[in-house]
Amino acid sequence: MPKTKILIVDDELIMRESLGGWLERDGYEVHKAASGEEALELIRNIRFDVLLVDIKMNGMSGIDLLKEVKSSDPDAAVVMITAYGSISSSIEAMKLGAQDYLLKPFDPNELGVLIEKILESRAKTLENLYLRDQYRERTRFESMIGQSPRMQEIFNLIEDISPIDSTVLITGETGTGKGLAAKAIHTQSPRCEGPFMGINCGAIPEHLMESELFGYQKGAFTDAKENKKGKLELANGGTLFLDEIGEISMRMQIDLLRVLEDRVFYRVGGTQPIESDFRIIAATNMDIETAIKKGQFREDLYYRLNVISFKMPPLRERKEDIPLLAKQFLFRFSQEMNREVNRIDRDTMDEMMLYEWPGNIRELENAVERAVVVCKSDSIIPGDLPIFSPELREQPLSGTLMEVEKEHIRKTLDSNDWNISRSAKALGIDRSTLYSKIKKYGLSGNG
Protein backbone atom coordinates (compact mmCIF):
# COMPACT_ATOMS: atom_id res chain seq x y z
CA MET A 1 0.00 0.00 0.00
CA PRO A 2 1.27 3.46 -0.79
CA LYS A 3 2.22 5.89 1.95
CA THR A 4 -0.32 8.34 3.33
CA LYS A 5 0.01 11.59 1.41
CA ILE A 6 -0.24 14.90 3.21
CA LEU A 7 -0.23 18.32 1.56
CA ILE A 8 0.94 21.31 3.59
CA VAL A 9 -0.23 24.65 2.25
CA ASP A 10 1.43 27.63 3.92
CA ASP A 11 3.07 30.73 2.48
CA GLU A 12 5.70 30.74 5.22
CA LEU A 13 8.65 28.56 4.24
CA ILE A 14 9.71 27.93 7.82
CA MET A 15 6.25 26.60 8.73
CA ARG A 16 6.17 24.32 5.69
CA GLU A 17 9.64 23.00 6.40
CA SER A 18 9.21 22.42 10.12
CA LEU A 19 5.83 20.74 9.83
CA GLY A 20 6.96 18.78 6.76
CA GLY A 21 10.07 17.46 8.48
CA TRP A 22 8.08 16.40 11.51
CA LEU A 23 5.48 14.55 9.43
CA GLU A 24 8.16 12.86 7.31
CA ARG A 25 9.66 11.34 10.44
CA ASP A 26 6.21 9.97 11.16
CA GLY A 27 6.40 8.08 7.87
CA TYR A 28 4.05 10.25 5.80
CA GLU A 29 4.68 11.31 2.22
CA VAL A 30 4.71 15.08 2.46
CA HIS A 31 4.08 17.57 -0.33
CA LYS A 32 4.27 21.32 0.15
CA ALA A 33 2.65 24.27 -1.56
CA ALA A 34 3.49 27.92 -0.93
CA SER A 35 0.08 29.21 -2.06
CA GLY A 36 -3.50 28.15 -2.67
CA GLU A 37 -2.91 28.33 -6.41
CA GLU A 38 0.11 26.00 -6.18
CA ALA A 39 -1.93 23.64 -4.00
CA LEU A 40 -4.72 23.43 -6.60
CA GLU A 41 -2.14 22.60 -9.26
CA LEU A 42 -0.83 19.70 -7.13
CA ILE A 43 -4.33 18.47 -6.26
CA ARG A 44 -5.11 18.14 -9.95
CA ASN A 45 -2.60 15.28 -10.22
CA ILE A 46 -2.33 13.80 -6.76
CA ARG A 47 -5.01 12.67 -4.37
CA PHE A 48 -3.98 13.67 -0.84
CA ASP A 49 -5.24 11.89 2.24
CA VAL A 50 -5.02 15.01 4.39
CA LEU A 51 -4.56 18.68 3.56
CA LEU A 52 -3.13 21.00 6.21
CA VAL A 53 -4.01 24.51 5.13
CA ASP A 54 -2.98 27.80 6.71
CA ILE A 55 -5.97 30.13 6.82
CA LYS A 56 -4.03 33.37 6.35
CA MET A 57 -2.02 33.40 3.16
CA ASN A 58 -1.08 35.97 0.56
CA GLY A 59 -3.14 35.60 -2.63
CA MET A 60 -5.76 32.89 -2.35
CA SER A 61 -6.77 32.50 1.29
CA GLY A 62 -7.03 29.19 3.07
CA ILE A 63 -10.83 29.56 3.17
CA ASP A 64 -10.99 30.10 -0.61
CA LEU A 65 -8.77 27.07 -1.15
CA LEU A 66 -11.02 25.01 1.12
CA LYS A 67 -14.08 26.03 -0.94
CA GLU A 68 -12.33 25.05 -4.19
CA VAL A 69 -11.16 21.71 -2.81
CA LYS A 70 -14.56 20.82 -1.37
CA SER A 71 -16.41 21.70 -4.57
CA SER A 72 -14.39 19.18 -6.57
CA ASP A 73 -13.90 16.58 -3.83
CA PRO A 74 -16.40 16.75 -0.96
CA ASP A 75 -14.61 13.90 0.85
CA ALA A 76 -11.25 15.63 1.01
CA ALA A 77 -9.96 15.84 4.58
CA VAL A 78 -8.87 19.42 5.19
CA VAL A 79 -7.44 20.63 8.49
CA MET A 80 -7.10 24.39 8.86
CA ILE A 81 -4.12 25.89 10.64
CA THR A 82 -4.65 29.21 12.24
CA ALA A 83 -2.82 31.73 14.39
CA TYR A 84 -4.19 32.80 17.75
CA GLY A 85 -6.88 35.39 17.22
CA SER A 86 -8.34 33.98 13.99
CA ILE A 87 -10.80 31.63 15.64
CA SER A 88 -13.77 33.13 13.78
CA SER A 89 -12.21 32.15 10.44
CA SER A 90 -11.71 28.64 11.79
CA ILE A 91 -15.36 28.36 12.70
CA GLU A 92 -16.28 29.54 9.21
CA ALA A 93 -13.94 26.87 7.81
CA MET A 94 -15.64 24.17 9.86
CA LYS A 95 -19.00 25.26 8.44
CA LEU A 96 -17.52 24.95 4.95
CA GLY A 97 -16.53 21.34 5.59
CA ALA A 98 -13.05 21.50 7.13
CA GLN A 99 -12.37 18.43 9.24
CA ASP A 100 -10.89 20.39 12.12
CA TYR A 101 -8.56 23.26 12.92
CA LEU A 102 -5.32 23.64 14.82
CA LEU A 103 -4.09 26.71 16.61
CA LYS A 104 -0.41 27.29 15.91
CA PRO A 105 1.97 26.54 17.43
CA PHE A 106 0.26 23.31 18.36
CA ASP A 107 1.08 20.49 20.69
CA PRO A 108 2.58 17.56 18.72
CA ASN A 109 0.02 15.29 20.38
CA GLU A 110 -2.93 17.24 18.91
CA LEU A 111 -1.82 16.90 15.31
CA GLY A 112 -0.88 13.21 15.68
CA VAL A 113 -4.24 12.27 17.17
CA LEU A 114 -6.10 14.31 14.55
CA ILE A 115 -4.33 12.71 11.59
CA GLU A 116 -4.81 9.23 13.03
CA LYS A 117 -8.54 9.90 13.44
CA ILE A 118 -8.87 11.02 9.82
CA LEU A 119 -6.92 8.02 8.53
CA GLU A 120 -8.98 5.60 10.60
CA SER A 121 -12.23 6.74 9.02
CA ARG A 122 -10.62 6.60 5.57
CA ALA A 123 -9.42 3.05 6.25
CA LYS A 124 -13.02 1.94 6.87
CA THR A 125 -13.99 3.11 3.38
CA LEU A 126 -11.00 1.28 1.88
CA GLU A 127 -11.96 -1.86 3.74
CA ASN A 128 -15.44 -1.89 2.19
CA LEU A 129 -14.01 -1.45 -1.30
CA TYR A 130 -11.47 -4.20 -0.67
CA LEU A 131 -14.21 -6.66 0.30
CA ARG A 132 -16.02 -5.96 -2.96
CA ASP A 133 -12.76 -6.37 -4.87
CA GLN A 134 -12.22 -9.74 -3.22
CA TYR A 135 -15.67 -10.94 -4.22
CA ARG A 136 -15.07 -10.09 -7.87
CA GLU A 137 -11.70 -11.82 -7.80
CA ARG A 138 -13.41 -15.07 -6.87
CA THR A 139 -15.68 -14.94 -9.89
CA ARG A 140 -12.87 -14.59 -12.43
CA PHE A 141 -12.37 -17.05 -15.27
CA GLU A 142 -10.86 -20.35 -14.28
CA SER A 143 -9.34 -21.77 -17.43
CA MET A 144 -5.97 -21.27 -19.02
CA ILE A 145 -5.75 -21.90 -22.72
CA GLY A 146 -3.42 -21.19 -25.63
CA GLN A 147 -1.96 -22.95 -28.67
CA SER A 148 0.74 -20.41 -29.48
CA PRO A 149 4.40 -21.46 -29.18
CA ARG A 150 4.79 -18.92 -26.34
CA MET A 151 2.01 -20.57 -24.35
CA GLN A 152 3.23 -24.06 -25.18
CA GLU A 153 6.57 -23.05 -23.65
CA ILE A 154 4.75 -21.84 -20.55
CA PHE A 155 2.76 -25.08 -20.27
CA ASN A 156 5.96 -27.15 -20.55
CA LEU A 157 7.64 -24.99 -17.94
CA ILE A 158 4.71 -25.33 -15.57
CA GLU A 159 4.79 -29.08 -16.01
CA ASP A 160 8.51 -29.12 -15.18
CA ILE A 161 8.37 -26.90 -12.11
CA SER A 162 5.10 -28.09 -10.59
CA PRO A 163 6.52 -31.19 -8.84
CA ILE A 164 9.45 -29.23 -7.35
CA ASP A 165 8.55 -27.53 -4.08
CA SER A 166 10.56 -24.36 -4.78
CA THR A 167 9.22 -20.83 -4.56
CA VAL A 168 8.12 -19.39 -7.90
CA LEU A 169 7.99 -15.78 -9.05
CA ILE A 170 5.71 -15.07 -12.00
CA THR A 171 6.14 -11.74 -13.77
CA GLY A 172 4.16 -10.19 -16.59
CA GLU A 173 1.81 -7.38 -17.47
CA THR A 174 -1.60 -6.91 -15.91
CA GLY A 175 -4.19 -9.33 -17.25
CA THR A 176 -1.76 -11.88 -18.72
CA GLY A 177 -3.01 -14.69 -16.47
CA LYS A 178 -0.35 -14.83 -13.77
CA GLY A 179 -2.95 -16.01 -11.26
CA LEU A 180 -4.07 -18.77 -13.59
CA ALA A 181 -0.48 -19.90 -14.07
CA ALA A 182 -0.08 -20.05 -10.29
CA LYS A 183 -3.23 -22.12 -9.99
CA ALA A 184 -2.02 -24.42 -12.77
CA ILE A 185 1.28 -25.00 -10.94
CA HIS A 186 -0.67 -25.83 -7.77
CA THR A 187 -3.05 -28.19 -9.59
CA GLN A 188 -0.19 -30.16 -11.14
CA SER A 189 1.88 -30.27 -7.94
CA PRO A 190 1.90 -32.92 -5.21
CA ARG A 191 0.13 -30.30 -3.10
CA CYS A 192 -2.96 -30.33 -5.35
CA GLU A 193 -5.07 -32.01 -2.67
CA GLY A 194 -4.25 -29.14 -0.31
CA PRO A 195 -5.68 -25.61 -0.41
CA PHE A 196 -4.74 -22.88 -2.89
CA MET A 197 -4.84 -19.66 -0.89
CA GLY A 198 -4.54 -16.46 -2.89
CA ILE A 199 -4.04 -12.99 -1.54
CA ASN A 200 -3.85 -9.79 -3.56
CA CYS A 201 -1.21 -7.74 -1.78
CA GLY A 202 -2.10 -4.65 -3.81
CA ALA A 203 -5.79 -4.70 -2.95
CA ILE A 204 -5.52 -5.03 0.80
CA PRO A 205 -5.15 -1.94 2.95
CA GLU A 206 -1.91 -2.15 4.95
CA HIS A 207 -3.65 -2.28 8.32
CA LEU A 208 -5.56 -5.41 7.22
CA MET A 209 -2.63 -7.17 5.58
CA GLU A 210 -0.98 -8.37 8.78
CA SER A 211 -4.10 -10.02 10.20
CA GLU A 212 -5.07 -11.33 6.76
CA LEU A 213 -1.74 -13.15 6.41
CA PHE A 214 -0.97 -14.12 9.98
CA GLY A 215 -4.43 -14.27 11.55
CA TYR A 216 -5.09 -12.92 15.03
CA GLN A 217 -5.83 -13.94 18.59
CA LYS A 218 -9.03 -12.93 20.31
CA GLY A 219 -8.48 -9.57 21.99
CA ALA A 220 -5.45 -8.61 19.87
CA PHE A 221 -7.31 -5.43 18.89
CA THR A 222 -10.76 -3.95 19.44
CA ASP A 223 -12.54 -5.87 16.67
CA ALA A 224 -10.78 -9.20 17.35
CA LYS A 225 -13.77 -10.86 19.00
CA GLU A 226 -12.49 -14.38 18.31
CA ASN A 227 -9.39 -16.17 17.08
CA LYS A 228 -8.92 -16.04 13.31
CA LYS A 229 -6.58 -18.07 11.14
CA GLY A 230 -4.60 -16.16 8.55
CA LYS A 231 -3.85 -17.21 4.98
CA LEU A 232 -0.46 -18.63 6.01
CA GLU A 233 -2.15 -21.01 8.40
CA LEU A 234 -4.99 -21.82 6.01
CA ALA A 235 -2.49 -22.64 3.26
CA ASN A 236 -1.06 -25.52 5.32
CA GLY A 237 -0.41 -28.48 3.01
CA GLY A 238 -1.10 -26.39 -0.08
CA THR A 239 0.04 -23.30 -1.95
CA LEU A 240 0.06 -19.65 -0.94
CA PHE A 241 -0.27 -17.31 -3.90
CA LEU A 242 0.90 -13.75 -3.24
CA ASP A 243 -0.35 -11.61 -6.10
CA GLU A 244 1.08 -8.12 -6.66
CA ILE A 245 3.93 -8.85 -4.26
CA GLY A 246 5.65 -5.62 -5.30
CA GLU A 247 2.98 -3.65 -3.46
CA ILE A 248 3.66 -4.89 0.09
CA SER A 249 5.06 -2.54 2.70
CA MET A 250 8.64 -2.74 4.02
CA ARG A 251 7.31 -4.09 7.32
CA MET A 252 5.41 -6.90 5.65
CA GLN A 253 8.50 -7.66 3.57
CA ILE A 254 10.45 -8.19 6.79
CA ASP A 255 7.73 -10.48 8.15
CA LEU A 256 7.46 -12.47 4.96
CA LEU A 257 11.20 -12.94 4.78
CA ARG A 258 11.19 -14.35 8.29
CA VAL A 259 8.37 -16.74 7.41
CA LEU A 260 10.25 -17.90 4.33
CA GLU A 261 13.40 -18.45 6.38
CA ASP A 262 11.89 -20.06 9.49
CA ARG A 263 8.52 -21.37 8.31
CA VAL A 264 7.24 -20.25 11.69
CA PHE A 265 5.08 -17.24 12.49
CA TYR A 266 2.81 -15.79 15.17
CA ARG A 267 -0.78 -14.66 14.96
CA VAL A 268 -1.27 -10.95 15.68
CA GLY A 269 -1.45 -10.77 19.47
CA GLY A 270 -0.38 -14.42 19.73
CA THR A 271 2.60 -15.83 21.61
CA GLN A 272 2.56 -19.40 20.35
CA PRO A 273 4.68 -20.06 17.28
CA ILE A 274 2.67 -21.59 14.44
CA GLU A 275 4.19 -23.86 11.84
CA SER A 276 2.63 -24.15 8.42
CA ASP A 277 3.79 -26.13 5.43
CA PHE A 278 3.06 -24.37 2.16
CA ARG A 279 4.65 -23.52 -1.15
CA ILE A 280 4.82 -19.87 -2.10
CA ILE A 281 4.08 -18.59 -5.57
CA ALA A 282 4.37 -14.83 -5.98
CA ALA A 283 3.42 -12.64 -8.93
CA THR A 284 4.08 -9.08 -9.93
CA ASN A 285 3.76 -6.72 -12.86
CA MET A 286 6.37 -4.46 -11.28
CA ASP A 287 10.02 -4.22 -12.20
CA ILE A 288 11.28 -5.51 -8.86
CA GLU A 289 14.95 -4.98 -9.67
CA THR A 290 14.30 -1.25 -10.14
CA ALA A 291 12.30 -1.22 -6.89
CA ILE A 292 15.32 -2.79 -5.13
CA LYS A 293 17.62 -0.08 -6.48
CA LYS A 294 15.20 2.56 -5.17
CA GLY A 295 15.19 0.90 -1.74
CA GLN A 296 11.47 0.03 -2.06
CA PHE A 297 11.87 -3.75 -2.12
CA ARG A 298 14.20 -5.92 -0.04
CA GLU A 299 16.87 -7.64 -2.08
CA ASP A 300 17.02 -10.61 0.35
CA LEU A 301 13.27 -11.19 -0.03
CA TYR A 302 13.54 -10.95 -3.80
CA TYR A 303 16.19 -13.69 -3.88
CA ARG A 304 14.08 -15.86 -1.59
CA LEU A 305 11.08 -15.51 -3.91
CA ASN A 306 12.95 -15.65 -7.17
CA VAL A 307 14.11 -19.28 -6.94
CA ILE A 308 12.29 -20.15 -10.16
CA SER A 309 10.81 -17.39 -12.27
CA PHE A 310 9.10 -16.96 -15.60
CA LYS A 311 7.26 -14.26 -17.48
CA MET A 312 3.71 -14.55 -18.78
CA PRO A 313 3.63 -13.19 -22.36
CA PRO A 314 1.33 -10.28 -23.20
CA LEU A 315 -1.59 -11.09 -25.50
CA ARG A 316 -0.09 -9.01 -28.35
CA GLU A 317 2.82 -11.50 -28.44
CA ARG A 318 0.51 -14.52 -28.75
CA LYS A 319 -2.19 -13.17 -31.04
CA GLU A 320 -2.78 -16.59 -32.54
CA ASP A 321 -4.51 -17.47 -29.26
CA ILE A 322 -7.09 -14.68 -29.59
CA PRO A 323 -9.70 -16.71 -31.55
CA LEU A 324 -9.49 -19.59 -29.13
CA LEU A 325 -9.74 -17.37 -26.08
CA ALA A 326 -12.54 -15.25 -27.57
CA LYS A 327 -14.59 -18.35 -28.40
CA GLN A 328 -14.05 -19.74 -24.92
CA PHE A 329 -15.32 -16.49 -23.40
CA LEU A 330 -18.21 -16.32 -25.85
CA PHE A 331 -19.30 -19.83 -24.93
CA ARG A 332 -19.10 -19.09 -21.21
CA PHE A 333 -20.90 -15.73 -21.26
CA SER A 334 -23.68 -16.83 -23.61
CA GLN A 335 -24.32 -19.77 -21.26
CA GLU A 336 -24.19 -17.60 -18.15
CA MET A 337 -26.49 -14.94 -19.61
CA ASN A 338 -28.71 -17.48 -21.32
CA ARG A 339 -28.27 -15.74 -24.69
CA GLU A 340 -28.04 -17.50 -28.04
CA VAL A 341 -24.92 -15.81 -29.30
CA ASN A 342 -22.69 -18.50 -30.71
CA ARG A 343 -20.29 -16.94 -33.16
CA ILE A 344 -17.97 -14.01 -33.76
CA ASP A 345 -18.07 -12.83 -37.37
CA ARG A 346 -14.93 -12.61 -39.48
CA ASP A 347 -14.68 -8.77 -39.50
CA THR A 348 -14.92 -8.70 -35.74
CA MET A 349 -12.22 -11.31 -35.43
CA ASP A 350 -10.01 -9.33 -37.84
CA GLU A 351 -10.43 -6.26 -35.67
CA MET A 352 -9.62 -8.31 -32.61
CA MET A 353 -6.44 -9.59 -34.22
CA LEU A 354 -5.35 -6.07 -35.16
CA TYR A 355 -5.92 -4.61 -31.72
CA GLU A 356 -2.97 -4.52 -29.28
CA TRP A 357 -4.95 -5.46 -26.12
CA PRO A 358 -3.05 -3.41 -23.54
CA GLY A 359 -5.23 -4.93 -20.81
CA ASN A 360 -4.38 -8.40 -22.16
CA ILE A 361 -6.68 -11.41 -21.61
CA ARG A 362 -8.77 -9.63 -19.01
CA GLU A 363 -9.55 -6.85 -21.48
CA LEU A 364 -10.50 -9.41 -24.13
CA GLU A 365 -12.71 -11.22 -21.64
CA ASN A 366 -14.53 -8.02 -20.70
CA ALA A 367 -14.92 -6.99 -24.35
CA VAL A 368 -16.57 -10.32 -25.19
CA GLU A 369 -18.80 -10.14 -22.12
CA ARG A 370 -20.00 -6.67 -23.14
CA ALA A 371 -20.53 -7.80 -26.73
CA VAL A 372 -22.72 -10.72 -25.61
CA VAL A 373 -24.87 -8.24 -23.69
CA VAL A 374 -25.36 -5.76 -26.56
CA CYS A 375 -25.40 -8.23 -29.48
CA LYS A 376 -28.70 -8.22 -31.40
CA SER A 377 -28.26 -11.49 -33.36
CA ASP A 378 -26.55 -14.82 -32.87
CA SER A 379 -23.28 -13.40 -34.17
CA ILE A 380 -21.02 -10.69 -32.73
CA ILE A 381 -20.32 -7.92 -35.23
CA PRO A 382 -17.73 -5.10 -34.97
CA GLY A 383 -20.41 -2.69 -33.78
CA ASP A 384 -20.92 -4.83 -30.70
CA LEU A 385 -17.37 -4.05 -29.71
CA PRO A 386 -17.41 -0.25 -29.76
CA ILE A 387 -13.72 0.12 -29.05
CA PHE A 388 -12.94 -1.49 -32.41
CA SER A 389 -15.50 0.42 -34.42
CA PRO A 390 -13.64 2.99 -36.60
CA GLU A 391 -16.64 5.38 -36.57
CA LEU A 392 -16.80 5.40 -32.83
CA ARG A 393 -13.06 5.46 -32.44
CA GLU A 394 -12.83 8.69 -34.40
CA GLN A 395 -15.83 10.33 -32.80
CA PRO A 396 -14.87 13.40 -30.81
CA LEU A 397 -15.45 13.15 -27.09
CA SER A 398 -18.65 14.75 -25.95
CA GLY A 399 -19.85 15.85 -22.56
CA THR A 400 -18.21 17.84 -19.81
CA LEU A 401 -14.72 17.06 -18.64
CA MET A 402 -16.20 15.39 -15.58
CA GLU A 403 -18.49 13.19 -17.69
CA VAL A 404 -15.61 12.13 -19.90
CA GLU A 405 -13.47 11.38 -16.85
CA LYS A 406 -16.25 9.38 -15.22
CA GLU A 407 -16.79 7.29 -18.34
CA HIS A 408 -13.08 6.69 -18.85
CA ILE A 409 -12.67 5.57 -15.22
CA ARG A 410 -15.69 3.27 -15.47
CA LYS A 411 -14.34 1.63 -18.64
CA THR A 412 -10.90 1.17 -17.13
CA LEU A 413 -12.36 -0.39 -13.98
CA ASP A 414 -14.51 -2.73 -16.05
CA SER A 415 -11.62 -3.80 -18.24
CA ASN A 416 -9.55 -4.49 -15.15
CA ASP A 417 -12.27 -6.49 -13.47
CA TRP A 418 -12.64 -3.74 -10.85
CA ASN A 419 -9.19 -4.44 -9.49
CA ILE A 420 -8.32 -1.10 -7.94
CA SER A 421 -4.52 -1.43 -8.14
CA ARG A 422 -4.51 -2.44 -11.77
CA SER A 423 -7.06 0.19 -12.75
CA ALA A 424 -5.14 2.91 -10.92
CA LYS A 425 -1.97 1.86 -12.74
CA ALA A 426 -3.74 1.88 -16.11
CA LEU A 427 -5.11 5.35 -15.39
CA GLY A 428 -1.75 6.63 -14.18
CA ILE A 429 -3.11 7.75 -10.81
CA ASP A 430 -2.66 6.35 -7.33
CA ARG A 431 -5.12 4.05 -5.59
CA SER A 432 -6.45 6.58 -3.13
CA THR A 433 -7.18 9.01 -5.97
CA LEU A 434 -9.09 6.27 -7.73
CA TYR A 435 -11.07 5.38 -4.61
CA SER A 436 -11.99 9.02 -4.22
CA LYS A 437 -13.12 9.31 -7.85
CA ILE A 438 -15.19 6.11 -7.58
CA LYS A 439 -16.94 7.63 -4.62
CA LYS A 440 -17.27 11.03 -6.23
CA TYR A 441 -18.91 9.64 -9.38
CA GLY A 442 -20.93 7.01 -7.53
CA LEU A 443 -19.45 4.21 -9.64
CA SER A 444 -20.03 0.61 -8.72
CA GLY A 445 -19.06 -2.75 -10.13
CA ASN A 446 -22.67 -3.62 -10.79
CA GLY A 447 -23.08 -1.02 -13.52
Binding site: G21, E24, R25, G27, P105, F106, P108, L111, M250, I254
Partner: protein, 149 residues
Protein backbone atom coordinates in the same frame (compact mmCIF):
# COMPACT_ATOMS: atom_id res chain seq x y z
CA UNK B 1 31.25 2.17 17.20
CA UNK B 2 33.62 4.87 18.44
CA UNK B 3 32.17 7.63 20.60
CA UNK B 4 33.84 10.85 21.74
CA UNK B 5 32.75 14.06 23.46
CA UNK B 6 33.61 17.48 21.98
CA UNK B 7 32.71 21.04 22.80
CA UNK B 8 31.85 22.22 19.30
CA UNK B 9 29.40 24.94 20.34
CA UNK B 10 29.88 27.16 23.39
CA UNK B 11 26.15 27.81 23.56
CA UNK B 12 23.07 27.81 21.37
CA UNK B 13 22.03 31.40 21.99
CA UNK B 14 22.02 32.00 18.23
CA UNK B 15 18.92 29.76 18.09
CA UNK B 16 17.01 31.62 20.82
CA UNK B 17 13.57 32.93 19.84
CA UNK B 18 12.95 35.85 22.16
CA UNK B 19 9.17 35.81 21.69
CA UNK B 20 8.87 32.16 22.65
CA UNK B 21 11.85 32.03 24.99
CA UNK B 22 12.74 28.72 23.44
CA UNK B 23 15.51 27.52 21.13
CA UNK B 24 14.90 26.63 17.50
CA UNK B 25 16.32 23.11 17.15
CA UNK B 26 16.61 23.23 13.34
CA UNK B 27 18.94 26.23 13.58
CA UNK B 28 21.24 24.21 15.85
CA UNK B 29 21.18 21.26 13.45
CA UNK B 30 22.17 23.55 10.57
CA UNK B 31 25.13 24.84 12.58
CA UNK B 32 26.23 21.32 13.55
CA UNK B 33 25.99 20.01 9.99
CA UNK B 34 28.31 22.77 8.76
CA UNK B 35 31.11 21.44 10.99
CA UNK B 36 33.93 19.49 9.40
CA UNK B 37 33.26 15.99 10.72
CA UNK B 38 35.04 12.71 9.95
CA UNK B 39 33.32 10.58 7.28
CA UNK B 40 30.44 8.32 8.39
CA UNK B 41 30.17 10.06 11.74
CA UNK B 42 27.10 11.35 13.51
CA UNK B 43 26.92 14.24 15.92
CA UNK B 44 24.52 14.40 18.87
CA UNK B 45 24.06 17.66 20.75
CA UNK B 46 22.65 17.61 24.26
CA UNK B 47 21.17 20.70 25.84
CA UNK B 48 19.16 21.70 28.87
CA UNK B 49 17.38 24.43 26.89
CA UNK B 50 13.77 23.98 25.81
CA UNK B 51 13.60 23.29 22.06
CA UNK B 52 10.91 24.04 19.49
CA UNK B 53 10.19 23.97 15.79
CA UNK B 54 8.03 26.85 14.55
CA UNK B 55 4.82 24.91 14.10
CA UNK B 56 4.96 22.96 17.38
CA UNK B 57 4.89 24.06 21.00
CA UNK B 58 7.98 22.00 21.81
CA UNK B 59 10.09 19.03 20.77
CA UNK B 60 12.18 16.66 22.88
CA UNK B 61 14.71 16.60 20.09
CA UNK B 62 15.22 16.83 16.36
CA UNK B 63 17.37 15.07 13.79
CA UNK B 64 18.22 15.41 10.15
CA UNK B 65 16.52 12.48 8.46
CA UNK B 66 19.38 10.56 6.85
CA UNK B 67 21.76 13.36 7.82
CA UNK B 68 24.58 13.71 10.31
CA UNK B 69 23.30 15.79 13.20
CA UNK B 70 20.70 15.56 15.91
CA UNK B 71 19.90 17.33 19.16
CA UNK B 72 18.11 16.33 22.34
CA UNK B 73 16.87 18.57 25.13
CA UNK B 74 16.67 17.39 28.71
CA UNK B 75 14.40 20.31 29.61
CA UNK B 76 11.04 18.51 29.37
CA UNK B 77 12.53 15.13 30.10
CA UNK B 78 12.84 16.32 33.70
CA UNK B 79 9.04 16.48 34.04
CA UNK B 80 7.31 14.16 36.50
CA UNK B 81 10.45 12.57 37.87
CA UNK B 82 9.76 10.42 40.92
CA UNK B 83 11.40 11.11 44.25
CA UNK B 84 13.51 8.00 44.15
CA UNK B 85 16.03 7.11 41.43
CA UNK B 86 15.50 10.48 39.72
CA UNK B 87 18.92 10.58 38.11
CA UNK B 88 18.71 7.04 36.82
CA UNK B 89 15.31 7.63 35.24
CA UNK B 90 16.35 10.96 33.73
CA UNK B 91 19.50 9.32 32.35
CA UNK B 92 17.41 6.60 30.77
CA UNK B 93 15.06 9.13 29.20
CA UNK B 94 17.94 11.10 27.74
CA UNK B 95 19.62 7.99 26.33
CA UNK B 96 16.33 6.81 24.80
CA UNK B 97 15.77 10.15 23.08
CA UNK B 98 19.37 10.32 21.86
CA UNK B 99 19.09 6.85 20.34
CA UNK B 100 15.73 7.79 18.83
CA UNK B 101 17.17 10.89 17.15
CA UNK B 102 20.26 8.98 16.03
CA UNK B 103 17.90 6.43 14.46
CA UNK B 104 16.50 9.22 12.27
CA UNK B 105 19.99 10.03 10.99
CA UNK B 106 20.01 6.43 9.70
CA UNK B 107 16.73 7.03 7.82
CA UNK B 108 14.55 5.30 10.44
CA UNK B 109 11.04 6.68 10.74
CA UNK B 110 8.65 6.66 13.68
CA UNK B 111 7.50 3.22 14.71
CA UNK B 112 3.99 2.28 15.81
CA UNK B 113 5.35 -0.18 18.40
CA UNK B 114 5.00 1.71 21.67
CA UNK B 115 7.91 -0.10 23.28
CA UNK B 116 10.34 0.58 20.42
CA UNK B 117 12.95 3.33 20.69
CA UNK B 118 11.73 4.75 17.39
CA UNK B 119 8.20 5.26 18.69
CA UNK B 120 7.27 8.94 18.67
CA UNK B 121 6.62 10.10 22.22
CA UNK B 122 3.83 12.55 22.74
CA UNK B 123 4.24 12.63 26.48
CA UNK B 124 6.84 11.83 29.11
CA UNK B 125 4.83 8.71 29.97
CA UNK B 126 5.43 7.50 26.41
CA UNK B 127 9.18 7.98 26.88
CA UNK B 128 9.14 5.90 30.06
CA UNK B 129 7.09 3.17 28.39
CA UNK B 130 9.73 2.63 25.69
CA UNK B 131 12.38 0.00 26.35
CA UNK B 132 16.07 0.56 25.71
CA UNK B 133 16.01 -1.16 22.36
CA UNK B 134 14.46 -1.22 18.92
CA UNK B 135 11.71 -3.53 17.73
CA UNK B 136 12.52 -6.27 15.24
CA UNK B 137 11.52 -4.18 12.21
CA UNK B 138 13.54 -1.13 13.17
CA UNK B 139 16.56 -3.26 14.11
CA UNK B 140 16.51 -4.90 10.67
CA UNK B 141 16.04 -1.59 8.88
CA UNK B 142 18.93 -0.10 10.89
CA UNK B 143 21.15 -3.07 10.02
CA UNK B 144 20.27 -2.53 6.35
CA UNK B 145 21.30 1.10 6.60
CA UNK B 146 24.54 0.26 8.38
CA UNK B 147 25.38 -2.28 5.67
CA UNK B 148 24.78 0.35 3.01
CA UNK B 149 27.25 2.58 4.83
Amino acid sequence: METSIHRYLENIDFALDHNRNQYHSTAVLDRLSSLDLPANSRIVALTEKDLFIPILTHVYGEAELGGVSCIVSSSRLKDDLPAIERDKLLGNRIIKEILHELGHTFHLLHCRDKSCLMHYCRSIRDVDRKVMGMCRYCSILLEDQLKRG
